[in-house]
Symmetry: C2
Subunit: 147 residues, 2 copies
DNA sequence: ATCAGTGCAAACGATTTGCACCTCG
DNA sequence: CGAGGTGCAAATCGTTTGCACTGAT
């Protein structure tokens, strides 16, 4: 069997690394913020014969989540589920209530991964992960309303 | 005009306090955790002629949110939107990844309401509110899987 | 009496699924 | 070659909306 290098340095074991999956992975990788399935779909180039079925996108995202490649979130806002690569640990966002921009936070305001929770209501609850979202107004939007 | 006391001690001004609204409010008030529209609907007693239209439930919940009577949330989990009365400030939950139970936390693990955020990525972002959800495994579910 | 609130059914948008075909390994 | 992946269209689910009727104030 001929030894040939794979063009993508890192990808999960045990699944077929099809052009569709490559592309969805690439789009998520290039994204600066979490994307919905529809947003991923719309970033496919129709001129390049790239309009893979939207159901395929959903199935790929399901597989990615199964493999812990992505994080899935649906928060306040437009109600759609958004996906992002599960990069270096977790990410939280500051969400502007005006322009709906999601600003990723550099650091986590809470340090309690995989720990025992000390709260009288949730005794013996073992925390595996957490999500935080801060709501407020970004610099630009505050300026906009300052008149 | 005859002065007559209202049977419900507290309710919002300016809206008709119909039996449907009373009942939805009561269900939310009795609930120990946030409920989805469908869950509220299913708690109506069909024997009591109480099966108000599901669309009515949604509309009532929309009004309640407008009046700041309730908080609306859709996080990780089953994808449905859940509602709870906007009681004494904000509440956070520990969500069991196994049984999906939502355990309200006694205290907020984060103290940063209405403050300036100090994060290099979100400079000059003014935080109005925040949501936190902890994911993990509750006592019962951990016991279940311990064999 | 009036107009907001309701019920019903139909519309809607996001997500899922069944099935035949295709393609990676 | 064969199992797994995909495309397409139809189904499903939660939620929203149009319209005629009802009931709280």
């Amino acid at each position: 069997m001929i030894e040939n290098k794979k063009d993508t340095s890192e990808y999960p074991n045990g699944i077929k690394w099809t052009k569709q999956r490559k592309r969805v992975y690439q789009i998520l990788d290039e994204a600066t913020q979490p994307l919905s399935a529809a947003q991923i779909y719309s970033r496919l180039d129709s001129e390049e014969q790239e309009k893979y079925a939207i159901s395929t996108i959903y199935r790929i995202l399901a597989v990615f989540e199964e493999l812990r490649l992505t994080d899935k979130t649906n928060w306040m806002g437009d109600g759609r589920i958004v996906y992002e690569l599960h990069r270096t640990g977790h990410t939280h966002y500051a969400v502007c209530l005006d322009c709906h921009r999601r600003i990723p936070l550099e650091q986590c305001p809470l340090h309690m991964n995989a720990c025992q929770l000390h709260d009288s209501q949730a005794e013996d609850f073992v925390v595996v992960s957490h999500k935080i979202e801060l709501y407020g107004y970004c610099k630009d939007c505050r300026a906009k309303h300052m008149d």
